[in-house]
């Protein structure tokens, strides 16, 4: 399997998914997922937009709590899509924060809820490792649930048309920040 070729040919899928995550966090705020219950989404303090696949142009980076999203919204209107974003997930009442990249869906700066302190008499790091693994798995389950939801809409001709129209209208909205 030529992963590099696939990465280059299908990079649009990651860009569209991340752009949808931004849209979805603002329009719906979250999603009910089978194993995790309702997962709430929040856009974090960093958003990077770049040219859509096949297009050329500069990146736009919006960061900081006070930063207006107007510039990012303008980037959308000029044909850019999200390359990376800081995303908050609330799962089972606990907050997770991560920076997600469109190309490989790698996670950076993943902040997990604190692990429970080890019980008295418990030796070795095994418990801590397993707890961290479970927390990280929550993140991947949430992202996979969100991607699966996006794919159902993205790959259905009628639903795709409706979604794309809704996202185009959202991109045209004046920014409220």
């Amino acid at each position: 399997m030529d992963v590099l070729a696939l990465l280059n040919q299908k990079v649009f899928l990651g860009q569209e998914f991340l752009t949808w995550l931004w849209y979805f966090s603002e329009s719906e705020g979250g999603l009910e997922l089978k194993e995790l219950g309702f997962v709430e989404l929040a856009l974090g303090e960093r958003l990077v937009l770049g040219p859509a696949m096949g297009a050329e142009g500069a990146r736009i980076t919006v960061s900081g709590r006070e930063a207006s999203l107007a510039e990012a919204r303008e980037g959308l209107r000029r044909g850019k899509l999200v390359e990376s974003l800081r995303l908050g997930l609330e799962i089972h009442g606990e907050e997770y924060w991560l920076t997600l990249g469109a190309a490989e869906l790698n996670l950076n700066g993943l902040a997990l809820p604190p692990a429970a302190p080890q019980e008295a008499g418990q030796e070795g790091p095994e418990g801590l490792i397993l707890e961290r693994v479970a927390l990280i798995e929550n993140v991947f389950k949430a992202l996979e649930g969100l991607l699966a939801h996006f794919l159902v809409l993205r790959l259905d001709p009628a639903a795709q048309k409706e979604l794309r129209g809704a996202m185009a209208a959202w991109a045209q909205e004046p920014n409220l920040n």
């Binding site: 399997m1 992963v3 696939l6 990465l7 299908k10 649009f12 899928l13 990651g14 569209e16 998914f17 752009t19 859509a52 696949m53 096949g54 297009a55 959308l76 209107r77 000029r78 044909g79 850019k80 899509l81 990249g101 469109a102 190309a103 490989e104 869906l105 790698n106 996670l107 950076n108 700066g109 993943l110 902040a111 997990l112 790091p125 095994e126 801590l128 490792i129 397993l130 961290r132 693994v133 990280i136 991947f140 996979e144 991607l147 699966a148 794919l151 159902v152 993205r154 790959l155 259905d156 048309k161 794309r164 996202m167 185009a168 991109a171 045209q172």
Partner: protein, 207 residues
């Protein structure tokens, strides 16, 4: 930045290929065969190998600390010496001045000799500079063939992919969005549509 504590960067992979039936014996043999080997007393610029995830000095793996069934939990230790270009230039200049002292006045050092002196200086500096150590955590869920590397830079990912393949002979496939999407749609009606999907293009324009 780690999988086990603090903020994490994670690169996600799928291991492809059939691991042998005596899996845990195989892991034990291959981890030990590819354990980190110290370069403290050499001039090697980089060394990469496995250690215990909780102790980057542990390359003996007594009591199989990597085994947390179904997980294999390892540290990938990377030791690297870095010689600043300014240091090489300084000592290269000193060596060239010394070499010129042996020549008749007005003669210059040839290109080959200058390069030889630069290599000599670089090797001498490498021997004097201790390598810096970094540890990257690796968690391999053997029940699903999924791996997490606690790093997100291409350079570290390349080192990991090389070490993993050399150690275990299994292919590593990054979980890029399209491949993840393929797994998620499975053989449903969406599978063919996914293969045929074309970019949306810019929002705000008609599709």
């Amino acid at each position: 930045m780690g999988l086990i504590k603090g903020r994490a960067s994670i690169s996600r992979y799928q291991a492809a290929g059939e691991p042998p039936a005596d899996f845990w014996d195989f892991i034990d043999r291959r981890v030990k065969a590819n354990a980190f080997k110290d370069i403290e007393q050499s001039t090697a610029e980089i060394a990469v190998g496995w250690t215990s995830v909780t102790d980057f000095m542990d390359t003996q793996f007594a009591f199989a600390p990597y085994s947390l069934n179904p997980y294999v939990v390892l540290g990938m230790r990377v030791d690297q010496r870095k010689v600043a270009a300014s240091l090489v230039n300084k000592y290269h200049r000193l060596e060239m001045d010394k070499a010129l002292g042996y020549l008749e006045e007005g003669r210059k050092l040839g290109r080959v000799r200058r390069e030889e002196l630069k290599d000599k200086v670089r090797l001498e500096l490498l021997a004097r500079i201790p390598p810096a150590s970094k540890l990257y955590e690796v968690i391999w869920d053997t029940s699903r063939g999924e791996l997490w590397l606690g790093a997100g830079t291409r350079k570290v990912m390349d080192l990991f992919e090389e070490l993993f393949i050399a150690s275990f002979g299994l292919e590593l496939i990054p979980r890029i969005p399209f491949l993840l999407a393929r797994d998620l749609v499975g053989d449903s009606a969406l599978a063919a549509r996914l293969e045929e999907a074309r970019p949306w293009g810019p929002l705000g324009q008609e599709a």
